[in-house]
Subunit: 337 residues, 2 copies
């Protein structure tokens, strides 16, 4: 994050709001439950600190949008914190569902406390997120609080639908890029769309402007995911000999992979034979590129980015917040240069 004035003012307030939300379960009998949530949020335990919290990009998107749409960003803090809590709830449950032992370089909650406690801790985080967004009642009134709470729940339903597709794609090799969009729409874009829509909603922007901000977030989310998928196969980390980290090894149903499957060429033939080993990654990435998957993914990301920027322009973001919002979007989309 550039050391910009607004974002640097916002980040400590987001963190304070998040901590206050989790402290709903501060009674001594539930101390260990609070430790689980605080550990996952990156505040306590081994490796706690900036590397463990993540960049809080989603709450910044909420607050910068609120300011760019002409509102007081402090009024949107409950929405910003709620979005980050929902994001973290979904990570706790996804880690169980995907059998992932580590996240951000640390053991996952289920790995440390077992599946039963982790599942329940995720449920607690989910509930706290929704209680948090209702605090908008105090800053924006009943009606917006209820609309915002409904939007957040509808977003959670999209998350579960995206996750359902992701799990149900396991073991299927007849997928095409058409199967990709509903999955990432639910798993990634819906939450980022909710960030910008909630920001504009709490600023009481006109419905048409709220809708442009939503489109900005939605397309930004899709573009981000397409680029992330590109980097997962042809990015620095995977190029510099760390082929074990390639999405080809993890079997992720990423956009280049689904494009490759739809081409039904050498890549698809190899993919259908079973797990890819690290030793094959370099050659297979080359084959996939030669079949057009890298160009296709790159062009798709560019097109989505343009749509996002177009919607943002239509929304006419104001002042310093508007400039920072564009900077944040660029940071998200060109993170590896």
């Amino acid at each position: 994050m550039p050391e910009s004035t607004l974002a640097s003012q916002m980040l400590p307030e987001v963190e304070a709001e998040l901590k206050a939300a989790v402290e709903r379960i501060s009674e001594p009998s539930y101390a260990e439950l609070m430790v689980m949530l605080s550990y996952h949020m990156g505040w306590v335990g081994e490796g706690a600190g900036l590397g463990a919290t993540g960049k809080r990009i989603r709450p910044l998107l909420v607050l910068l949008t609120a300011a760019a749409a002409g509102g007081d960003w402090r009024n949107a803090l409950p929405a910003a914190a709620a979005i980050e809590l929902v994001h973290n709830f979904s990570l706790i449950h996804d880690d169980i569902e995907d059998d992932s032992p580590t996240r951000r370089g640390r053991p996952t909650v289920w790995k440390k406390w077992g599946i039963a406690q982790a599942l329940n801790a995720g449920d607690a985080m989910f509930t706290i997120a929704h209680l948090e967004i209702m605090r908008l009642e105090g800053t924006t009134g009943d009606q917006i609080a209820l609309r915002a709470a409904r939007l957040l729940q509808e977003t959670c339903l999209e998350l579960t639908k995206g996750q359902f597709l992701d799990i149900s794609y396991e073991g299927r090799s007849n997928l095409t890029q058409e199967d990709y969009w509903p999955m990432v729409s639910g798993k990634t874009a819906a939450l980022i769309a909710a960030c910008t829509e909630l920001g504009a909603m709490t600023a009481r922007a006109e419905p048409a402007i709220q809708s442009e901000y939503r489109q900005f977030g939605y397309n930004l989310g899709l573009a981000f995911q397409a680029l992330d998928d590109l980097l997962g196969i042809w990015g620095d980390a995977t190029q510099m000999g760390k082929s074990a980290q390639s999405d080809l090894v993890s079997g992720k149903k990423s956009l280049p992979v689904l494009y490759g499957l739809s081409q039904d060429g050498s890549f698809a033939e190899r993919w259908r034979k079973g797990s890819i080993q690290p030793g094959e990654v370099e050659q297979l990435a080359h084959i996939l590129e030669s079949e057009g998957a890298r160009d296709y993914t790159q062009e798709t990301a560019v097109c989505l980015t343009e749509r996002a920027i177009q919607a943002l322009t239509q929304a006419q973001p104001r002042g310093a917040a508007g400039a920072e919002l564009i900077a944040l979007a660029n940071q998200l989309l060109r993170r590896n240069g």
Copy 2:
């Protein structure tokens, strides 16, 4: 359920409301997700029907309270359906956490679809429950809808706290009956208290009356659990030779067991040695009774029932609904005679 006019009118409308709520995910791509939820609700799949749906006692409590408090029970339907959906969400997740292969005589969702899909289906049910309660906006207005949604979320936080305690008690043998109340308060009583409070809230009852209805539900929930625990050791099913079904075999931290542990006598000594076998159940139940656990549990249930009835009397329930509410409470508390 007695064939009373009101409850028999309510039940089909509850079922219709529940089905409409689950149909939020009726798009063809998510057909299997909807099947998971519909299966768990008892509508489809092997053994579907009345035995699989449960008795819908919680939604009836909401609706009868709404009517007894002077409201139109149809206005409370979104709250009634939401409570039942939350109850069922928690069952899907509890079955994963407790490693339970069957519920109501049918395979559990995780047993049929695996842990990943079941966990996610529970999240979907949770979200649908909260979207459902917000439909109160259309019947009772913004303000009550937001208050009701917040109460339901706070109740869910209590559920997760109760579940946290339950899991964390596993393997602990130094528990006493004091450890029992926060656990069952969260796991059982909080949701039944929410039923009666929501019913009174949607009827726009005075705050003092809402509070009496809540106390009625809360104590009813605790009394129900204490009696359920009594029957789990000395009930018909466990007395008639089905000793494998005894709570002593499953290791449940029930009130008689925790009382027995606090007495630190022969029962506690045997319990601390490890799992109870079906062949020991009859003798151990006798020892536990001789140490006073049965009387203690019975007296506790009677006392809680009296508190519940006292609160209900203070709430001055009206007309046929009031009479049916008392009948429903009695059904819940004396279910095995």
